[in-house]
Symmetry: none
Subunit: 200 residues, 4 copies
């Protein structure tokens, strides 16, 4: 009954994903999850060792990919040069290309990691990502000379950038809409950053 088993497992995964996204890890109760998956609390433990293991199964793939992105940092083809690009049309085009590659990289697992992992071993992921983004912002800021105030603000910017990025994935499933919003999002941060760096 391997086939059947896989179906059940998938059903639990789907139900868990939905519950975690809507309620967060702690507030999503196993009872609701198994009810939605049309199975029982006892049977749940035939598929997963604990509530946290279910969460892990939902995010582990994206988490690894995400950690690879963070550590392999420099090998990624990032459109950083855009920060110095002055022709807006070129900007949109390159970003569009870049975003198209990014989109499939982040699934619901990513959203769970950032928005719903409080109470799990992954609860620091958002912090980690924000820190990475923050350092990235600081890099750019520092090219224009030290500015303590801006470096402090980089922390704020970073957390907002990450949350906005996640929110787009979370609130909009349509690929085209997502892409447009992500481009706006990146542009917004590039322009905003350059703006406060240049003090207008």
């Amino acid at each position: 009954m391997q086939y059947k088993k896989d179906e059940m497992r998938q059903s639990i995964l789907n139900s868990g994903e939905e519950a975690f996204l809507n309620l967060g890890f702690t507030n999503a109760s196993l009872r609701k999850i198994v009810n939605n998956a049309s199975t029982t609390i006892g049977n749940f433990y035939n598929y997963f060792d604990s509530k946290e293991e279910l969460f892990k199964a939902l995010v582990v793939h994206d988490y690894k990919k995400f950690m690879r992105l963070l550590t392999e940092h420099n090998t990624i083809n990032r459109p950083d040069y855009l920060w110095e690009e002055s022709n807006p049309k070129v900007g949109r085009d390159v970003l569009s290309h870049f975003i198209t590659n990014i989109i499939p990289e982040f699934g619901n697992g990513f959203i769970l990691l950032i928005q719903s992992s409080k109470g799990t071993q992954y609860e620091d992921t958002r912090e980690l990502l924000i820190n990475e983004v923050r350092n990235h912002f600081i890099e750019h800021i520092e090219r224009f000379g030290e500015n303590d105030n801006l470096i402090t603000y980089a922390e704020i910017m970073a957390s907002q950038f990450v949350d906005g990025f996640t929110k787009i994935f979370s609130d909009y499933q349509d690929k085209e809409v997502r892409q447009k919003l992500l481009i706006d999002h990146l542009l917004f941060y590039m322009i905003g950053t350059m703006g406060i760096i240049g003090d207008f």
Copy 2:
């Protein structure tokens, strides 16, 4: 110990504030709160009628002020004309003046209202504020002609703006630092918005 009543009340308020900020309303348990306040659950109810009443005591002042700001909306001297201002120095100065007036208006109660009120009667406050900000963004965007994509993005911007604004109050207590960050924050959003409106 009767003569200590105010001290105990303050101790519970402090412990509650800390717990609500760190864990949110629902996950902050009364047992943790009273342990931190060095008292007992039974005694807690000599000071507050319920967990929610403790929360209310922490936010009600800021909530009223906040609602007044929202409803008296148009009477507030907002630096909106800055959106069309081209001299950056003027921008910083006017904003500085505006921010200085805003700062003392928002205490920790404001942070609780935005970040930790889920499960209380105040849980819609963040939504309310985001909506207000979103409409404000849309106003400016529409001056430059309809743009469905940007109007969708206004939702994202607004929630980020509010969360960033709150984060500044939450992470930085020093008044001067706060002020500088808030100015950066406002500038960042003004520039970013104008940027994506103009498509570079």
Copy 3:
């Protein structure tokens, strides 16, 4: 132990019935109930959604039957003509027949409804029944001309009649004994009523 499920459920029902009968709904604590049923508080909630649901399970059947009796009121073959009957032997016989049909209609659920339902959604049942009986008494009284004093006393009579009726069911399980007592009870009230109507 799954195979024992029905036994456990029955055990809780029995324990609950006993506790509700002895202490009333509010004062019967879940702890006592589950202790008597040899299980735990947590397990109780595998069988019933709440304390009130346990009560409901014990009375709902009798409650529906009871409400049907009240609403179908006129279709029931009541021995009312007996009030004018002068031959005592006929009285006992007809009553006996009537009572025999009533007896199986009321189980322990009926006793719970009348005696132990304070604090539940059924707490008005006794009042309802007393009112019905009171109106019935008044009907008979008014055939003999208005008598304000007696009409006031009808309230007392009705509540006593109902409580006595319930007490018979509560204190005596044996069907034959019950039947005899119920006949005495009805006779007692018929005679008593006629007596005070006639002022001896």
Copy 4:
């Protein structure tokens, strides 16, 4: 401040009486009682050693009188001969005289003892009284020859008689109304009893 003290004590007694009558001993909380008495929980214990002592203070006088009545049983001038009286007018007159003497004997303490003493040391009082009345009924029944069925029913009659008697005191404060109802009540039971003894 003896004067003042007596006032406070009386205030607590009044508030307690009201609460016990309305809610029963267990469900009447000290908090409500002291609030209604316009004092504090701490001060309560300056006047009474415990919740039960407050109850005791409210009933002890009536309880003693009641116990005296029970033990001095035969010395009371009871209208028992009425059971053999055949002229109804004489019946009402004698009863009226008897009742007039009884009424002041039973105050609210008596109602508390019968209706609200569950959970206190007096919770058996109702039982005691019912038993006494039951024996009294049986005496009369046995004059007409053994009748097991009636003797069993005497238990029912007795509890109803007592509850009805108490209900009249509890529901009607007006002396004249009370008197009329009590007469009806006694007559009702005399007639009813004679009726079922005689089998019509």
